[in-house]
């Protein structure tokens, strides 16, 4: 019987992490947008009776969806690990990689796990007073949207590492895209203040524009992590180029007229 080629591929662990990353983000999208219907977010101005109705209408979806997250959400660690690996592969200090890893690991608690926990509690305890359910509803969406700022420094760390890197692990444009992503995370902060309008947690600016930018950013880094694995030579110097028009090699500085 022939031995599968993947078992002898020195990049097999990296591919495993990459496919797990794709799996995590696919799961995340399906759970939040389809199964639990917690995205787009509920209305911030709902009164307690409307919140009770909101939980009742999503009861089964909340339990099934967040059960999946509690079982499989740990796959997000592979995404973090791969990004940390990419920063370690750069010519910059390891401090960038460790800072990014710690910051995102901590930020995932308010930015990702709080909403899962609060929504599950709301779905599992429908007999509680409507005021308590409204409190859980607010906690869930405010922690999910309002704490985006804690990811901001992580994006800036990754950006700085890419711009300083001489190993060409990522193109510089992705460094700048990190800045775009960080700047849209700033604008979510007013969702703590507003109950309606463009800056509320479901608003055109705080949610819709932000989620489009985050979606493009996530798609870009998943694609670029794949490119990095393809180009990985397990050395310490610059990564070899890739036959792709998307990839721009760094142009040496030239004297201009």
């Amino acid at each position: 019987m022939m031995r599968p080629a993947i078992l002898d591929d020195p990049k097999r662990e990296l591919w495993l992490a990459w496919y797990a990353t794709v799996g995590f983000y696919s799961l995340y999208t399906v759970v939040f947008f389809i199964i639990t219907r917690t995205q787009p977010p509920g209305k911030p101005w709902y009164d307690p009776s409307q919140v009770v109705g909101w939980f009742a209408g999503r009861h089964d979806g909340l339990l099934i969806g967040f059960a999946l997250i509690f079982v499989l959400g740990g796959l997000s660690a592979t995404s973090l690990a791969l990004i940390t690996y990419s920063i370690r592969r750069m010519s910059v200090s390891r401090a960038f990689a460790y800072s990014y890893l710690i910051l995102y690991a901590v930020a995932a608690v308010p930015g990702f796990l709080f909403i899962c926990t609060a929504m599950t509690v709301g779905a599992m305890r429908p007999e509680r007073s409507p005021a308590l359910l409204q409190w859980l509803y607010d906690l869930a969406f405010l922690s999910f949207s309002g704490t985006m700022g804690v990811f901001l420094i992580g994006s800036l760390i990754w950006m700085t590492a890419i711009l300083l890197d001489k190993n060409h692990v990522f193109p510089k444009w992705f460094g700048y895209l990190n800045l775009c992503n960080a700047l849209t995370e700033v604008v979510v902060a007013p969702s703590w203040i507003f109950h309606e309008g463009a800056l509320a947690w479901n608003g055109a600016i705080a949610w819709w524009i932000n989620v489009v930018v985050f979606g493009l950013y996530t798609g870009a880094f998943i694609y670029l992590l794949r490119s990095m694995i393809l180009r990985e030579d397990f050395g310490t110097g610059p990564l070899p180029g890739l036959d792709s028009k998307v990839w721009r090699t760094i142009v040496p500085v030239e004297a201009t007229v």
Binding site: P171, K172, W173, G175, Y176, L177, L179, C180, L183, T184, V186, V187, P190, I193, F194, G197, A198, L199, A204, I205, I209, V212, V213, R248, V251, V253, E254, A255, T256, V257
Partner: protein
């Protein structure tokens, strides 16, 4: 701005053509322009829903202060363009002086903006007082965040002035982009009726 001093496409001695700075920075310019366009669309849509309230809010702004902001920032673009020209010619001392002048004008803009915010808050117009001022404070504040990043960018420019013309042009591109956003914000908040 640089584009008024030099053509956007610079012809090099070897006859090759290139855009100023790293092409990667133009990805940022394009993407961030799309994001700001989306903000402006949201603002304009809200304005059509509450036109009278927005007109009342606009009447509380001092147009001359907005014009002064614009003149200061456009002047900073001019000094930045001079900085790029000097750096291209290898005249690093005047290029450094122009970079500091640019930073100074950026700082003046920031002070003017804070003065305007304090005045409005004293008049009772805050982030939460009306929909117009919600957008006013949001747009001017997010622009100021870009400006603050611009000071870091200017620091990189001064640091790499004699080492890399590409980085000088990349930093200038960022600064001009921030100015460009302000011109649009000024037009929307102060001028459009």
């Amino acid at each position: 701005m640089t584009t008024t001093q030099e053509p956007l496409v610079v012809v090099r001695e070897q006859g090759t053509r290139h855009i100023p700075g790293q092409p990667d920075m133009w990805v940022f310019v394009f993407f961030e322009s799309l994001v700001f366009t989306a903000y402006f669309c949201v603002y304009l849509y809200s304005r059509t829903q509450h036109e009278r309230a927005f007109l009342h809010g606009q009447s509380q702004l001092l147009a001359w202060l907005g014009v002064l902001d614009t003149v200061v920032l456009l002047t900073s673009s001019w000094t930045m363009a001079r900085c790029v020209q000097h750096a291209r010619a290898g005249r690093y001392a005047p290029a450094r002086r122009d970079a500091f002048l640019t930073a100074g004008l950026g700082f003046v803009f920031l002070v003017l903006k804070i003065v305007e915010w304090v005045r409005l808050i004293h008049l009772g117009h805050t982030f939460t007082s009306s929909e117009f001022f919600q957008y006013y404070f949001f747009l001017t504040a997010i622009h100021c965040v870009h400006l603050l990043i611009g000071f870091v960018v200017l620091g990189v420019l001064v640091w790499k002035l004699s080492a890399s013309q590409e980085i000088v042009e990349t930093c200038a591109t960022y600064w001009h982009t921030v100015d460009f956003f302000w011109v649009l914000i000024f037009a929307l908040l102060y001028v459009v009726r």
